[in-house]
Subunit: 215 residues, 2 copies
């Protein structure tokens, strides 16, 4: 039986739609009364594991799920050994550096060396500041990162930006972009190698439905 790790939250609805195109009907997970974390597909040939965003690559890396759908942001942060197969294109957002609009900084290289940068994505942030050769002190926060510059715990933040509304409401502006993140179909490498064709079929349909939706 194929197990697919799905992230609760913003990615869920589109993930279910795209898997349905590949013949896996997990619409039961969208039922607001559903409390199950392991949900069989309508056909009974597959099941979904409903987990937190950050846990999708973990379940796939350990082979408890053969497939998973997760944001590129989480994938970059977690650095788990999974195959990144298809850019599904939905849930697009930017991983950006932001500062107080009143700060005067207009790009990341202008930040003072050894300043503090708050983020939920400290691995991504570390890589970015190493690449631009700017030493910074990273402060790991788990939520409401936009509070960082307001409280003074950090001069800058690295965070996901979709519409930019949260930044604006808190008097912050984007000054640099690390990457653009979208939902990705990932797989357990060993399961791909041992696949008898069923995984490949799903992957190909999701690849082609992506290509046709991009036209």
């Amino acid at each position: 039986m194929i197990t697919v790790a799905l992230a609760k939250g913003a990615l869920l609805k589109d993930s279910v739609t795209r898997l349905a195109q590949a013949g896996l009907d997990f619409s039961a997970v969208l039922d607001p009364t559903n409390r199950l974390l392991m949900v069989p597909s309508a056909c009974g040939r597959a099941k979904a594991l409903l987990v937190r965003n950050g846990d999708v690559p973990v379940y796939v890396a350990y082979g408890q799920a053969q497939l998973g759908i997760v944001g590129f942001d989480v994938l970059s942060e977690k650095q788990m050994p999974v195959a990144n197969l298809v850019d599904l294109g939905f849930c697009g957002c930017r991983m950006s550096v932001a500062v107080k609009a009143t700060s005067g900084y207009r790009s990341a290289v202008e930040l003072p060396p050894h300043c503090r940068v708050a983020s939920k994505f400290t691995s991504c942030a570390r890589q970015f500041f190493e690449d631009i050769d700017l030493p910074v002190e990273l402060v790991h926060l788990t939520g409401s990162v936009e509070l960082g510059p307001l409280t003074g715990i950090a001069e800058a933040i690295v965070d996901l930006v979709a519409t930019g509304r949260t930044l604006r409401e808190n008097g912050l502006i984007e000054i640099d972009q690390l990457f653009y993140s979208t939902a990705r179909l990932i797989a357990h490498p060993l399961s791909l190698r041992l696949d008898n064709g069923r995984l490949q079929e799903i992957i190909e349909i999701m690849q082609s439905s992506k290509d046709s939706s991009a036209q």
Copy 2:
């Protein structure tokens, strides 16, 4: 002005009650329509920072808040340089090792060496298994840790247990306890040293209200 870091969620209501006894009225944070993350006290002499559980010790360690209220579980996991001042006694729960009820293991030392243990609290778990000299592979999950043994990603979990209902519903049993966790009043060490008496006054009232409630 005194800033107090408060954890959103289960700790919030009791935290507000206890601070009110010490003269800081933050009841505005309990208003369900409140969207502010920085909330002044009714008297205007203090403000609350409303942050995620795990971020309370971070804001206090960096001195953005002089005081904070957070669970001993988070404090043990984060290992930040803060002063752990008063055991406030509320929100009690156990940090426990649990396995499938059908597994046959009845204490942590019976677990097979190099087995996998899933947890949100991997620092606490690492310390515990080092103390009992059992090498294990820790799998960091961010939510629904009770799925670990059910999916097979881990033989055991280390997680917070309050009533035990989640464990029972998932066919798991507690086999060992790391520690008992309660809410703690913490402070920024340097702020304590530079205190002109106002922090000390709050701390003493919260200490004595704890002693009287324990009688």
